[in-house]
């Protein structure tokens, strides 16, 4: 699992790749601790597996961002990851976009 960060305007983009599970969730929580913005896009295009711990890490980040009047949005979910979001109905809690461009643009609309 790899974690890459970049900034596009006022939006921080976090790109994850590989298996996103309980072993990776602590790294994400640590990353939140260093975050200086409340506008975040998590690009999951490279994630082929996600478990409940990872989902919890994302919901924690979403809550944190919304508390600071921002949001954490998701984009480019692979089918197995999309299924988990639908099964848990977390697809209703997050704003999810097909592409990173659309997710970033949504912050300015």
């Amino acid at each position: 699992m790899a974690l890459t960060t970049r900034t596009v305007g006022n939006v921080t983009v976090l790109e994850l790749t590989g298996r996103f599970d309980a072993h990776m969730a602590p790294a994400l929580l640590e990353w939140y601790g260093k975050l200086r913005t409340a506008q975040v896009v998590v690009n999951l295009a490279g994630v082929n597996f996600i478990d409940s711990s990872a989902l919890a890490a994302l919901t924690g980040g979403m809550k944190r961002c919304r508390q600071q009047k921002g949001d954490l949005k998701l984009c480019a979910l692979q089918q197995p990851v999309q299924v988990i979001f639908e099964l848990t109905r977390m697809n209703r809690a997050f704003e999810i976009f097909p592409s990173e461009t659309e997710a970033i643009a949504s912050f300015t609309h």
């Binding site: 409940s52 919890a56 809550k63 919304r66 977390m90």
Partner: protein, 411 residues
């Protein structure tokens, strides 16, 4: 957010009382939750629920409201009336099919409660711990008569349809979501992990000094039957004397007098101990003292709270070869030794494999501990709050409430 939870709650011995205890313990710590009403069952006799002494500044207030009675026929009506008078933002139900009564009429009528509460204008989420579609009625003792089996299946289908009238129905196993969506053509079912009760420190995996304890924990007499376990214990005693069998817990509300009957029938058996009701503060010791935790289930159930507790304390477990539990283990990362239900020799063999191999017990306990650490109850509670906030937002948008939105994410 003001939340009502319909559930048995300690010291009530009703099924799922411990789950409720832990769920509420974490729920009241969430900053967006201001007030919790526990709509629970009335205690027998003159007993009263103890006053809330756990309140801390910054946590939600907790009000216990006994408003239904196990086995009564008017529970749904009383719950709906009480909920309406309290007017919480949302009502959660922590239930299974026999939560409201032992008899079919009381159980079925009680399950009308979520629908009636919703009809009263309140948002509802049902956490259903088992589904009828996966219950093995033969193992549960209803397999002898096809007519009875058909009636029970029909009751299950109708009851499930009624429960699905809630805004959301949560289950703890992915397959349950698929079964309900396919059979009932609904889209308001979701997966909510069971959650780990305690964020316990890494446990001691070694057995304490003294006899090796074989322990079983729960409410016995319905689908948890200890007779095969007692027979298996007798078989083990023929080859080794350093063993103790601990039956921790009470009768199921549906089987009063069951454990006393087993105790009397085995009065001659050395090393057999019944603890009776296990107070919350004694639960860690009960698990830590056990070398092996056995699940003498005869029927499939939902996700097992006892398995999560065994995992929390790093215990090795022995489980029946029943569909639900095997799937649970596969999906949640647990491991165990398996036995054939109702076969004492198979159970004795499974226990022997662990009792004779401390390294195997340690490895299994470690894996189960890691599995139990997977998703703490605090996170599971967070998920319910997210779903509750979404329901309330949708209702507000439709004008179904006064328009007062929950302040999710904001104090």
């Amino acid at each position: 957010m003001r939340i009502a939870i319909v559930t048995p709650y300690p010291p009530s011995a009703g099924s799922l009382n411990e789950y409720a205890f832990h769920f509420i313990r974490f729920l009241r710590q969430k900053p967006e939750v201001k007030e919790i009403f526990v709509l629970t069952d009335e205690l027998p006799g003159d007993q009263a629920y103890p006053a809330d002494t756990d309140w801390q500044p910054g946590t939600a207030t907790l009000r216990i409201v006994p408003c239904w009675r196990f086995g009564a026929l008017d529970n749904a009506l009383r719950i709906a009336r009480t909920a309406r008078s309290l007017a919480p933002d949302i009502v959660l139900f922590n239930i299974q099919f026999a939560s409201f009564g032992r008899s079919k009429p009381s159980a079925a009528l009680g399950l009308l409660a979520p629908m009636m509460v919703r009809a009263a204008g309140l948002a509802t989420i049902v956490l259903l711990h088992n589904i009828m579609e996966t219950v093995d009625l033969k193992s549960a003792g209803f397999g002898g008569n096809p007519l009875v089996e058909g009636v029970i299946r029909a009751f299950g289908t109708v009851s499930t349809r009624i429960l699905l009238r809630a805004d959301l129905l949560a289950v703890t196993i992915p397959r349950y979501v698929e079964i309900l969506e396919k059979k009932y053509g609904v889209s308001n079912v979701l997966l909510a992990p069971h959650g780990a009760f305690d964020e316990a420190p890494p446990p001691t995996f070694d057995a304490p000094p003294g006899p090796l304890q074989i322990m079983t924990f729960g409410k016995f007499g319905t689908y948890k039957k200890i007779e095969p376990l007692v027979v298996a214990f007798r078989l083990l005693q023929k080859v080794r004397q350093d063993l103790e069998l601990v039956i921790a817990g009470t009768d199921s509300p549906n089987a009063p007098g069951y454990l006393e009957g087993v105790r009397q029938a085995n009065a001659d058996l050395q090393g057999l101990r019944f603890t009776g009701y296990v107070a919350e503060e004694d639960v860690p010791r009960i698990f830590q003292d056990a070398s092996v935790v056995v699940f003498p289930y005869t029927s499939t159930t939902g996700s097992s709270g006892v398995l999560h507790q065994a995992g929390n304390y790093g215990r090795a477990v022995v489980l029946p070869q029943l569909g639900d539990l095997a799937e649970l283990i596969a999906e949640e990362g647990y491991t165990g030794e398996f036995f054939t239900p109702d076969d004492p020799q198979s159970l004795a063999d499974a226990m022997t494999r662990l009792l004779d191999d401390p390294e195997r017990r340690r490895a299994m306990g470690t894996q189960n501990y890691l599995a139990a650490c997977g998703l703490p109850m605090a996170e599971v509670v967070e998920w319910y709050l997210i779903h509750a906030a979404n329901i309330l937002a949708i209702r507000a948008a439709r004008g179904q409430t006064s328009g007062k939105l929950p302040t999710f994410g904001h104090r």
